[in-house]
């Protein structure tokens, strides 16, 4: 991969033209500008311009106390808000030298996995609408609503959950939650299987997705992507296995990989990961120990010792990291967010070279990058 692949280097020749997709374009949630130099329908060069919703989060975080940052981490990527809470809290726990209670660990795994399911469902939905499969998009969002209500029952919010706390979680499960969740997830499992069947047997869908936007394991590694796009290429890289955090080492699950690395595999990985997450949740609900869900005193006003921590987690989209430097005051000295979507977005232009305009939407959506997280 050369860096020329990410830029439009020369003005278009008479047979070529520049096509700007964005910033307002029905391609994906969140504005970005994708400049394409096309010849006929074939893409010769592509350049991704981001920053349209750059909020200056890292600067704002340096001006907030540690506990004030917690709800703001939801907004880094609203589809993975539980993961973001969790990675921040784990970083802070390391800085403060505390450990979450056993029950809190299970609760965090539970919410993380629910969050992964709803994020994947919306990701697949966005993607299917980009290949013109509007009905599947609507089914996926319908299925997502059931997961959102499960999350809402725990956290009280639909999108930005703000659930984890330093050393615990905000609240315990509501009564009767286990039965409700098992029933709802059982139904979801059936539906996902039937959608999977439909998607793997529809010949038009297969034609649109097989062999499109292929990313081999080597290329994926070079481009620095993580998460489902990397696993679709066959690399068994999942931080839940590699660097087990919370209680993932006590749970039984498979890391889903596919071999082809094309658009189809990336979506397949997400579909199968949903089933795997349901399995994890079922185990969590079974094995969850009773006990306190938070520390006796949650350190709301906190001044950690000077030091630094880099905590990371397997987000729905890949490796989410936070690098916090503390100088001993009640505000972080430096707060760096390493988002997975940033890496996947960067890897998008090289994938587009040589494909057709019609495939741009499919490839871009199959990478499932979250613009809010790319821009921060």
């Amino acid at each position: 991969m050369t860096h020329e692949a990410t830029q439009i280097t020369s003005p278009p020749k008479p047979s070529e033209m520049l096509l700007h997709l964005g910033p307002q374009h029905p391609l994906q949630p969140g504005p970005f500008l994708l400049d394409l130099k096309i010849e006929g329908e074939t893409i010769r060069e592509a350049e991704l311009k981001i920053g349209y919703i750059h909020k200056g989060m890292e600067k704002v975080f340096e001006d907030r106390t540690y506990i004030q940052i917690l709800p703001l981490t939801d907004r880094i990527c609203y589809l993975a808000s539980n993961s973001n809470n969790d990675v921040y809290c784990r970083g802070m726990e390391e800085l403060l030298g505390i450990e979450p209670t056993d029950r809190a660990k299970y609760l965090r795994v539970l919410t993380n996995e629910l969050c992964r399911i709803q994020s994947h469902l919306l990701g697949i939905g966005e993607y299917t609408t980009d290949v013109g499969f509007l009905t599947m998009f609507i089914y996926m969002v319908r299925e997502r609503e059931s997961v959102v209500s499960l999350l809402e029952a725990i956290t009280g919010s639909r999108l930005n959950h703000n659930y984890a706390r330093f050393g615990g979680v905000a609240q315990d499960l509501p009564p009767g939650y286990k039965e409700m969740a098992l029933k709802s997830l059982g139904k979801l499992k059936e539906l996902i299987k039937s959608h999977d069947d439909m998607m793997s047997s529809d010949s038009i869908y297969l034609k649109r997705t097989k062999g499109v936007g292929t990313l081999t394991a080597k290329e994926a590694g070079e481009l620095g992507v993580a998460g489902p796009p990397l696993r679709a290429a066959g690399v068994n890289y999942d931080l839940r296995r590699l660097e087990p955090y919370l209680v993932y080492d006590e749970l039984d699950f498979n890391v889903i990989t596919q071999t082809d690395g094309d658009v189809f595999s990336r979506v397949k990985v997400r579909l199968l990961e949903i089933l795997e997450s349901i399995y994890i949740i079922e185990q969590c609900l079974d094995q969850m120990p009773s006990g306190p869900y938070k520390q006796d005193v949650t350190p709301y006003i906190t001044r950690p010792e000077p030091g630094e921590v880099y905590s990371r987690i397997e987000d729905p989209r890949g490796e989410m990291g936070m690098y916090i430097i503390s100088d001993g005051s009640d505000k972080p000295y430096r707060f760096r967010i390493r988002g997975p979507a940033f890496a996947t977005a960067q890897a998008l232009p090289p994938l587009l070279i040589g494909t057709y305009v019609a495939d741009v939407a499919a490839i871009a959506a199959s990478m499932d990058s979250c613009t809010s997280e790319v821009d921060r």
């Binding site: 033209m17 096509l19 700007h20 374009h25 029905p26 391609l27 006929g40 329908e41 299917t128 609408t129 980009d130 290949v131 013109g132 499969f133 509007l134 009905t135 599947m136 609507i138 089914y139 319908r142 529809d202 038009i204 869908y205 034609k207 649109r208 057709y356 305009v357 019609a358 495939d359 741009v360 939407a361």
Partner: protein
Amino acid sequence: MGTFVELYDGIMELLVVLFSTWALAPWVRGVLGGLVIGAVFGGALVMVYLERKFLGDIQSRIGPNRVGGRFGVLQLIADAIKLFTKEDIIPAKADKWLFIGAPIVALTSGFLMVAVIPFDLLVINGKEYAVAVSRMDISILYLEAVSGLAIFAIFMAGWGSGSKYSLLAGFRNVAKMIGYEVPLGISIISVAVMAHSLDIVEIVQAQSTLWYIIAQPLGFVVFFIALLADVGRIPFDQTEAEEELVAGWATEYSGMRWGLAFFAEYLHAVVGAFIITLIFLGGWNGLPLIGNLNIPGIFWLIAKTIMVIMLFIWVRGALPRYRIDQVIDIGWKVLIPLALLNLLWSTIIGLIWA
């Protein structure tokens, strides 16, 4: 039922008598044409409404249910009022006359097609009267010819809008339709060969014993697919693929100009459904074996057409969209050979049958 049929026959007889008396007066044809166009216009409205409700059902939604009672029947009226009273924008970079002309051409092509569509055949005093604005002896060729105008309309819109999305959509449409008009034409020829006539009325009459969907199923499949491409519906709606080209050739259109262009599409779909009913599904003939059960032919025709329209909507709800190069591949590599094969088949059968 009996009285109803008598009433219908009476009305029709009256019409025919009036019609044959003043058949030479141009205004009679004008009035009749206006009525038929109004009816097909209404048909297109019904199709839009059906699409919103039926597609809603497929997608586990409800669809319009607040505007005009619980079935949302006035929804389209509200849409039309809104579109009529929107501001009229012509982009500064647009080619003004092409931009204005495109919806008109599209709609005109639809109306021209309506002119030769027969709705029934009445036999009064041993004389045949087709319930059509105009009965031509080459009506099927005429249909094929004027439906081709719609391609120009889309290209005019694509080029005239001065937008790159529209331009790409216009190119796509031309590329697609060069490949699809051929199988469409060949399957029409196959039908004509079998019926020994280019007149739709005679084609329908030839199906009174056997529908052509049974006589040449391959031809029906080819025609149906090519027709889907012709009217630009999923899986062949590359010309207005939302996620790729915003709204395709209609990107720059707003207000009633967009309304007309949008409506022309549905008009084409409805006329297409009529054609497929007439040349493959037996037109106003009743079901095979059962006969027409004393129901007037026009109702058979409309019922079958609505079934075809439902099929269009169902296909839209169930399938993703092809990529443009795949569409062209299918046109040239699959549909044309199949259409030729069908032509051979229908020629042989037609000869034996004759």
